[in-house]
Every structure is written in C-alpha cells, then in structure tokens.
C-alpha cells in the first residue's frame, strides 16, 4: 500500500457517483433515469477501483484493480448513450437488437482485459513509475485499446450529439437542463482525451473519473435546480403522432403537408402516399369534413355521421384553424377532428339521469305537499310516463274489504279501457298483485291472459306497490309503438316510482286512520263530558232535593213537635196524665225523625265535600261536664251507671267542638242503648305520638256486644245493629258513619273492639290540635255506593 495524493479525490468521485445513483433511482419512472443510474454505477465502480489502484504500490495488485476498473469503463459510454436516447424520447431506437450490438464491443474489451497477459492486445510494458513518495502505474496501449477508446468516444459523442440536438430544438424551458447535461458529459470526455493522449499536466493520472465527478455534480445540480428527470421535454412531433385527434396540415395551396396516424386511419391513406396531394382528393372519403373545409378557413363545430365500420352513429368535434408564419402570412390550415361519441353518450346518460331525478323529485314533492291522494297518484303515473316517453299508464289499488284490485288512475289509452276490478291472479294487474313481482309483457295485444281483449297497447309492464310485506296496489306503463320494449333499467326506475306511490297510499291510510282515531277520541270525550255533566247535574239535583226535603220535612215536624209541647203544657195543666204520655210519644217519634233528617243532611254535606270544620280552642273539662249532663237521662233510662275517668284538668283542645260533642254524644247514647243494668265508662287521656299530642276518648260498655260480622259493617251507612235493649229501632243508622267521617276530617279515627255478650269498646283518637286540611275531596257516597271494608286502623 502507498499514500497517493490522488486517492482521496478518486474516492470523492465515487461518493458523488453513489449519490447520483440514489437520486436517479428515486426518479426511476422518468425517462432516462434508469440509464442515468447505470451510468452512476459504472462511474462509482470505476472510481472505487481506481482509488484502490492508486493506493497500491505492488504491480500485481495494481494490475488487478486496473482490470476491475474496466467493468465500469466499458459500461459508462453505453449507459450515457442510453440515457441520451431515453431522455430525448427516442426509446424506439433502443431495441433489444440494438442493445446486443451496443454490448458487443464492451464485452470483447472486458474479455481481452482479463486475458491481456496472454496476448497484450490492451496493454504492454506494464510497469510502475516512481513519483517520489509514491508510484503510479503506466503502460503502452495495445491495438484493441484503441478500438475500445474509439467505441467509447463514439458512444459519448453520439449521446452528446443527441442531447445537443434536443437542446437546440427544446423550448427555453428545458434549455438549462440540456446545457447542464451537455457540460456534464463533455467534461469526462475531455478528461479522458487528456489522459489517453498524455495531454494532462499530471502525468500518468487518469483524469476521467475526476471529470466524472464534475459531471455527476452537474447532474446532481440538475436534479435539484432544474428538476431534471421530473420534467422531461417531449418531442413535439411525438405529441402529434400520439394524439387521439385526427390532425391534418394543409398548405396555402390546399396541399396536404402532414397528418398523424389517427388521420391516416380515418382518411384511409398512409402519409407517404398522401402528402403533397390535394386536400380535396384526400378528403374525398370524408365528405362531411370536406364540405365544411370548403366553406371556411376557421370553424369549430360538432357533426354526426353513421360510421360504416360499426354502423353506429358517431359524433365528431371539428376544428379548422388558419396557420400563419412569423410575418403573419397565411401558410395553410390545420384541421383537427375528434370522436366525441363517448362524451355525447355520457352527456345523454347524465341528462336522462337528471330527468329521472327530477321526475322522482317532483313526485316526492307532490307527496310532501299533501295533495289529495288521487292527484298524488296521478302525478306519479304521468311523471313516470313522461320519463319513459309514454302517456299510457295506470294505477290500481287493493281494496281490503272486497279483496279486489280496483283501478284508481288511468292515463292515455288506459282511459279508454273499462273501469276494472280484478281478483287476485286475474290479468296482468291481478298477477302482479298475487306474485308481488314486477311483470313485463312484450306484447299485451296478443297476450292470451289479457284482461282487456281489444288493446292497442303492446309492451306493458306492471310494478307491485309494496307497503311492508303487503301489496297495496299495482302501477304500470305501456307503449303503443310495437317496436318499443321495457329494459330492466326502466323497470328498476319504475319500481322507484312504485315505492313513492306505495308511500302515498300508506300515508293516506295512516291519515284516514288518524282522522278516525281523532273522531273516535272526540266522540269519547264528548260522551265523557256529557256523562260528567249528567253526573254533576244529578248531584246538584240530589243536593237541592235533599236540602228541599229536609226543609219540607222540618216544617211539618216543627209544627208537630211544637204543638206536642204546647199541648203537653195544657194537658198537664188540665191534669190529664194519659195525654201527657201520648204527647211525649209523638214528641219522641218527632225527635227521632228530626235526628234522621239532620244526619242525612250531614251525610249529604260530607259527601258533597261541603262539610266544613269550625276549628277553635275549647276546654275539654267543660265539654265533658256538658256531655255528662246531657247524656245522663239516657244512661239512667236503662238503669246504667256512667263512670268518667278523666284527669282533673284534661286541658284544652283545638278542634271543631260541635263535631267532637256530636261524636261523643253519639257513642255514649249508643252505649246506653245497648247496655242494660251495666256500666258505661268514658275515659279521657292525652298521649304523645310522633311529636304530636293526641286526645283519646274511650267509651266502654258492658252491654250485648257485637259479632265479627256485625263489626264488619258497623260503620257503613244505614247499617243498624239489631237487638237494642228495648227492641226499639236503635237509631238512624247513620250516627257511626257520620262520627267516623267527622273523626277523619279532623285527622283522627274511631276504632272498635267487641265481643258478643261482653260489651264493646269504642276508641276515638283525635289530634289535640286539629289542622285545617284542604276541602274534603273524595268522600264515598252513601247513595248507591258504599264504602267497603273495615274501618281504617288508626290507633296511635
């Protein structure tokens, strides 16, 4: 190994080349990129091997590396040529055959290089030249070396020439690219010439790899600065060759100057035989172009013609433009035409699609606008017909009550058909109803199963109208023209109209159902209102009746009771004891009647929610004293004894005093009535429950008591426990019911325990302070309805 000053620059050249390989490879789809990458590989190889050659001082090693260099050396010119050809768009030159030819010389060179020792065709006199601190290889060139050199120069020069030509022809836009490329390629060439012909200032140093460094740098600059390979100039004539338009160039004397392959195909002539002929002769086969060409120098219009090769109508776009030279002189005309049939077809399809959407949109709008059902259905039939180009359409609806399908809308020839009703499976309509599938008849006029015998209609299609799984109707169109038929696309489109029709029918059904429901509800409401009115009227009538009745009853009773009193006074005065006792009976019966009337009135008030509480504080002791005094005659009547168990000062109470008195009087008088020679005990005490004070009144007797059954209806209105002590009617049968109502109104209750022959105990629990509650809302009626069940247990 040795330390040559040339090693480092050579390695630098290799590195630069590698960067070119990478950059070119990244752009490999671009024309010329792969060839450029190959060039990079060749130079990199060459430079690397050369660096190793320079680094060695031993002749054998140097010889090895020199040989290695040649892999790169032989490839580089070829790769360059390939790059030039591809870059300028002349790919067609690079045939397989051409590639083989180009590879021939380099392959022979390589073979000779590696077998040089045997024949010396490449080198002779290989030795080392001492350069002072290092040695360099030198040799005398053999005959094949010059063949190789000439070949290489040829490749490089040809490539350069191609690029140069492109440079001269290229628009300004690409000129910088081309300049750069040319510089890049001429540099290695110059370097090589200097080395081979010993013109270099540095003896024995091959400048070619260094020149390649410059060239690769130039190319790298091109990558970044001028988007080399990104934007590639394309030959103009190539463009015209490849255009899908027919292009024809005519000179001022109407002679054909040029035309492209498309035009050649159309004009049925090859350029070779047509160029130079009169344009009128050439356009003979295209009269449609010729007649337009004759008239004008400039035109842009479309025309259509039936082409003989496929027998189909084709659309063309024709443009004729005048050509002027730089001095503004008329030099001829450019005729360009283009087959636009596909575009026309697409346009027509789009237009048709738009019409479809429009028709669907309009029918949807009709649907949304809540027109009446018939006009919606009519819109659907006529719009669908208009889209298909027919006025003959119908729509029939299934009548669920008769299980028939009934014609609802008829247009065109269908209007002349009889108004039909069909069974399931009958005719086209009935069949579609039965199967639920669209059915298309190619010729209805001759269809054996037709419903209408005499028909002018031919192709006919019918679509089921589906609501959920149910077929609610059938909708159809027909053509009167025998040659027309329904395509699957048309049937599919009609299905969409069918969906809209089904929706309209469903909406109408729902609407009418809703209407019915609404009417039903209104009727129910009216009935309820009437019932309520009647009930209220009845209630008012009842209340009025009761008030009047009590008044009417009270007036004669007042007289009866009054006179019985007055007469008692007189009878006593007259000493007639018998009269007195009889008059007392009248008075007692009257009193009973009065109590009954009063109770009925009380109950009717309770029931009407009109019974009110008059709350005020009162002394409990005074109330008890008053009660005892009032009840005493009744107690003594059946030889009973009254015990009062009460604290010395039972305190006061805030409640409705009248009602409390009435409750206690009622219970005490009941106790007296059902007890004979017994004891009646009234116990009063205060308790505390849930932070509230309660007053308990317990009325216990030792009387006849009650059975379970009797207890169960004890508090019901008009229920009376039979068998009072003296077998007389025991009371009004309302006292307990009223008492319990009163207790509950005040937030308390009455409970009872009893055993036959062992007496009864009634307990009244009332809050010490009664709170006013909202007006009694739901008091069970005593008339007609009675409160069922046991008294509510409320025993704090």
């Amino acid at each position: 190994m040795q330390d040559s000053p040339y090693v480092l620059p050579t390695i630098g050249a290799a590195v630069m080349s590698v960067s070119v390989i990478i950059l070119a490879w990244l752009r490999r789809p671009a024309p010329g990129a792969k060839a450029l990458a190959l060039l990079g590989v060749a130079v990199a190889w060459w430079s690397t091997a050369y660096a190793l050659e320079l680094a060695h001082a031993d002749l054998e090693a140097i010889k090895f590396w020199v040989r290695m260099e040649y892999f790169g050396i032989v490839i580089a010119p070829v790769a360059w040529l390939a790059f030039a050809v591809e870059y300028t768009g002349r790919n067609q030159w690079m045939t397989r055959h051409m590639k083989t030819v180009l590879a021939g010389v380099p392959l022979i060179t390589l073979l000779l290089v590696w077998t040089n020792d045997a024949h010396g065709l490449i080198w002779s006199n290989m030795d080392l030249k001492d350069m002072g601190t290092f040695v360099m290889y030198r040799s005398t060139y053999g005959s094949w070396f010059w063949v190789h050199t000439a070949y290489s120069y040829f490749g490089i020069l040809l490539g350069s020439f191609i690029l140069l030509r492109a440079l001269l022809n290229s628009p300004d836009l690409y000129r910088q690219q081309a300049n750069l490329l040319l510089f890049s390629v001429l540099t290695p060439l110059a370097g090589n010439i200097m080395y081979v012909f010993r013109l270099s200032p540095w003896d024995y140093l091959d400048l070619t790899p260094f020149a390649f460094v410059l060239s690769t740098m130039g190319i790298s600059l091109g990558f970044f600065q001028f988007r080399l390979l990104d934007v590639v100039p394309i030959a103009r004539d190539l463009t015209i060759e490849n255009m899908s338009e027919g292009v024809l160039v005519v000179d001022e004397q109407d002679r054909v100057m040029d035309f492209n392959p498309v035009a050649a195909h159309w004009l049925m002539r090859s350029p070779r035989e047509a160029i130079g002929l009169s344009v009128f002769e050439v356009l003979n086969v295209r009269p449609e172009i010729m007649e337009r060409y004759r008239d004008v120098t400039e035109i842009a219009e479309e025309f259509s013609v039936i082409e003989e090769d496929d027998g189909l109508l084709h659309y063309y776009d024709l443009r004729i433009s005048p050509l002027y030279d730089r001095n503004g002189r008329f030099r001829g005309r450019l005729v360009v035409w283009h087959d636009i049939t596909e575009r026309k077809k697409a346009e027509a399809a789009l237009r048709h699609q738009n019409e479809e959407l429009n028709a669907l949109h309009e029918t949807t709008l009709a649907l949304l606008n809540r027109l009446d059902l018939n006009s919606v259905l009519e819109t659907i039939v006529t719009r669908a017909g208009a889209l298909m180009g027919t006025s003959h359409g119908y729509l029939a609806v299934v009548d669920p009550t008769t299980q028939e399908i009934v014609i609802r809308v008829r247009t065109g020839a269908f209007a002349g058909y009889p108004e039909w009703r069909m069974q399931r499976g009958e005719g086209l309509c009935g069949q579609v109803w039965a199967t639920g599938e669209p059915l298309t008849i190619a010729d209805y006029a001759t269809w054996p199963e037709r419903y209408v015998r005499e028909s002018d209609l031919h192709a006919m299609t019918s679509i089921p109208l589906r609501s959920g799984t149910e077929i609610v109707g059938v909708f159809g169109l027909a053509y009167a023209e025998p040659e027309r038929a329904f395509s699957p696309e048309e049937v599919a489109l009609l299905r969409r109209f069918g969906q809209l029709a089904a929706l309209a029918l469903e909406n109408a059904r729902l609407y009418s159902e809703a209407q019915q429901e609404l009417a039903e509800r209104k009727r129910t409401e009216a009935a309820l209102y009437r019932a309520k009115e009647e009930a209220e009227t009845a209630n008012r009538a009842k209340s009025t009746f009761l008030a009047n009745m009590s008044h009417e009853l009270r007036t004669p009773l007042t007289i009866i009771l009054g006179y019985s009193q007055l007469m008692q006074v007189q009878a006593r005065d007259m000493g007639n004891a018998e009269f007195v006792s009889e008059l007392q009976s009248i008075a007692a019966a009257g009193d009973h009647l009065l109590a009954l009337i009063s109770n009925i009135l009380d109950l009717s008030k309770i029931e009407a929610g009109k019974m009110e509480l008059t709350l005020m504080p009162f002394d409990l002791g005074a109330l008890i004293d008053e009660l005892v005094a009032a009840i005493q005659p009744l107690i003594e009547k059946e030889s009973n004894e009254l015990n009062v168990v009460c604290p010395d000062d039972p305190g006061s109470m805030h409640a409705d005093q009248t009602k409390v008195r009435q409750i206690l009087f009622n219970l005490l008088s009941n106790a007296a009535k059902f007890t004979d020679n017994g004891t009646i005990t009234l116990t009063v005490n205060r308790t505390c429950h849930e932070a509230a004070e309660w007053i308990h009144f317990e009325i216990r007797d030792t009387g006849i008591g009650m059975s379970e059954e009797q207890l169960s209806y004890l508090f019901q209105e008009f229920s009376q426990v039979t068998g009072s002590v003296n077998h007389k009617p025991a009371g009004t049968g309302l006292g307990l019911a009223i008492s319990r109502h009163f207790c509950r109104m005040m937030g308390g209750d009455i409970t009872v325990t009893s055993k036959v022959k062992h007496g009864s105990t009634f307990t009244v629990a009332l809050p010490a302070t009664v709170i006013e509650r909202p007006a009694n809302t739901a008091t069970p009626s005593i008339f007609g309805r009675t409160e069922a069940g046991k008294p509510q247990e409320r025993n704090p």
Partner: protein, 129 residues
Amino acid sequence: MATILVVEDERMIRDMLLRFLEMNGYQTITAANGEQALNQARSAQPNLILMDMRLPVIDGWEATQQLKADPATRAIPVIALTAYAMTDDREHALAVGCDDYETKPIQFPKLLVKIKTFLEQANPTDTAS
C-alpha cells in the same frame, strides 16, 4: 203588656207561635215577609221580634240589617229562628245584628226564657205577666 212581632211565612208555624205567646200572656202582631216586618216594626214599635230568616220579598237577614240600621227600630231585640242544622244561617243571623237565635224545631221552654230575659233587659219595670 209587651207586644211581640212574629215574622214567619209558614202560616201554621206562625199560628203556633202566636198561640204559644198568647198562652204566655203576650200581645202579638204578625208579618209574613221581610217587607211587612219592616213596616210593622216601624209603625207598631213592638217590644221584641221573632224573625224567621228564610223569607220571601226581603229575607230575615236583610230585614234585620235594615232594622238595626234605623235609629227608630235599632233598640228592638231580634231573636232569629233558624233551621236546626243550618249553622251558617245562625252565624249569618248574628252577623247582621240579631240579638240571639233559636233553632227550629222550637224548644218552647228555652225560647220563653230568652224572651223574658230580653224584655226585662229592655224594660226592667214592665215585666211580662
């Protein structure tokens, strides 16, 4: 002898009241409605009025209110006669200025005590026989 005005639209009750009062030695005059009652009270100046409340033409409450508003009749005690169960009637009666009330059916002994009391208060010297 004290004169008592009986205002009552029910003839039989009115007759009964007259009989009761005459039995107890009072002079009586009568009215069948509120308007007559006002006229009688002003012209005859009775010592006491027994007034039914539910009356035609002018009812007992209205009539009492007018009597109590008139200085000429203000001093005459008015005992309202109301239906037994009609608590409202009673309170209403006291509110318009009735001096007391009794319920129908009438407890004559009780009513007699009240009449005597009012007459004694009005004229301690001229007590009824």
